[in-house]
Amino acid sequence: MSSSPRRRLLAYFARRPAAGSWALLTPGLLWLAAFFAVPLVVLLAYSVMHRGTYWGVAPGFTLEHYRRFLDPLYLAIAWRTLWIALATTGLCLVLSYPVAYVIARAGRWRNILLFLVILPFWTSFLIRTYAIIVLLRGGGVVNSTLMGLGLTSAPLELLYTPGAVLAGLVYGYLPFMVLPIYASLERLDLDLVDAAEVLGARAFARFRRVILPLSLPGVAAGSLLVFIPSLGAFLTPDLLGGAKTMMLGNLVQNQFGPARNWPFGAAVSFALMGVVMVGLLAWLRVRDAEAAA
């Protein structure tokens, strides 16, 4: 039998269930507050302060750093970031849907195929990005193959283009799209597809009218899971994009680094955070709607 202080403690928490929950939550929440939330608040504060003479910030309040964002130079970067993120999402969707569909119908091959989809995800992102460099660079595999086949006579400029960044992001985030679509297709009641067939629907109509609409929650979740990290990408455009394909993430690094304009860098960070937050809220809604269905 247990000692009585333990019983008394349990009785205490039984009377105050919330206290028990908070006792469990406190250590983790404290850590996240100190090393995630507080830094963000400091960054937010920096974004409305004056620029320091050499680096850092000087006291005062201003919104000029947010206004500065309207400069065509920066708007162009924001625009590029947006379309690259959208294009990444679209490409991932087009590639992932058939993959997810085949896996969901693959019977006993299913687990092996799922493993193959997730496998690259466990390989270092940095190394996968480097692998793209090896493929795309001037003397790389793609160019030498093209020239070997006689399709091109000189190496194409493949690296340091928006296309290279796109390739890197799609390659990096594809599993995030495949898995939620697979989950929604796997849950799909096959009787519904059969019912549509008895009612006269040919293969394409079955897909368009039954399978696709019922997998939309998975599509939405996957799209957000790809879109959000693409928006904040730093490493991929840094290594594959070069100076001409700068995205917002690189702009942030640039302002804290060589440009030495910390408040502007902070302001760009929060512009980015704003869009990401919208994405997060959308994702939570999709998830809750799906859980309720």
Binding site: P17, L24, G28, F35, V102, L116, A131, F256, W262, M273
Partner: protein
């Protein structure tokens, strides 16, 4: 019931799988290429692996990466599991907010998380080093552990715990003998995720690491920046084999427990 798939679709998906795995396969292949200039194959060699052994900085970085990943995983697994347990009990005011808030660190761009942490450390004059790297890794991996463990908890049959209580166990005993064993695969999965995320992280580490605390990704990054060279291929191949092996082993262990 399995329905037949159109061969065209299967071929298309096969092609996608091929493209998905081609880059890393090429990388591993070229780590055995005796030519310095990766594009042309000029024979098999282990030369680049031998070169690895002559590079104490690479070995040091690998050892540091493993140390950081191990320590931060231990702390993050503990904190994350406690968070999940706190959130899985009966509802209380603010629970949804906290749960939603857990996703914030997950979706925050790493560059923002890394730089904000850097300015905090600079403002507080904390010397950058292994300590700051571990602190940062715990902060960004804890929410992942919490989410994975929480999902497992939600999928668990709570009546098992109630059955234990009805059989005379108190809450602590019921947790230790029923909940914890059932939760173990989830905790293991969360820890594994934390470990690989930490081992893999470049962006956050890049900002909070000091001169003496170069992890392997940071070192590889600087090598890549300097230019493509076959030693990186060899490092990559070693890392690929290492992580894939860990995952295969872990999923086998997890599989036998019915995870």
């Amino acid at each position: 019931m399995t329905r037949r798939l159109s061969p065209l679709l299967v071929a298309l998906v096969g092609g996608i799988f091929l493209v998905l795995h081609l880059p890393v396969l090429v990388l591993v292949l070229y780590s055995f290429n005796s030519s310095r200039f990766a594009a042309s194959w000029s024979g098999f060699t282990l030369h680049w692996y031998a070169r690895l052994l002559e590079r104490p900085d690479i070995l040091r970085a690998l050892r540091l990466s493993l140390t950081v990943a191990t320590l931060s995983t231990l702390v993050a697994t503990l904190l994350g599991t406690l968070l999940a347990l706190g959130l899985s009990r009966r509802p209380f005011r603010g629970r949804r907010l906290i749960e939603g808030g857990l996703y914030l660190p997950i979706v925050t761009p790493e560059i923002v998380a890394g730089i904000s942490l850097l300015i905090l450390f600079v403002a507080l004059r904390v010397p950058l080093g292994v300590g700051t790297v571990i602190v940062a890794h715990v902060a960004f991996t804890t929410p992942f552990v919490a989410v994975v463990v929480l999902a497992r908890l939600r999928g668990m049959d709570r009546s098992l715990e109630e059955a234990a209580l009805a059989l005379g166990a108190d809450e602590v005993t019921a947790f230790r003998r029923i909940t914890l064993p059932l939760l173990a695969p989830g905790i293991l999965a969360g820890a594994l995720l934390a470990f690989t995320l930490s081992l893999d992280d470049f962006v956050i580490t890049f900002f909070v690491a000091g001169p003496g605390s170069t992890t392997l990704p940071v070192l590889v990054y600087s090598m890549v920046r300097r230019g493509v060279e076959p030693t990186i291929n060899a490092v990559s191949a070693v890392l690929v084999v290492l992580t894939t092996g860990t995952i295969a082993l872990a999923s086998r262990l997890g599989g036998t427990r019915g995870a």
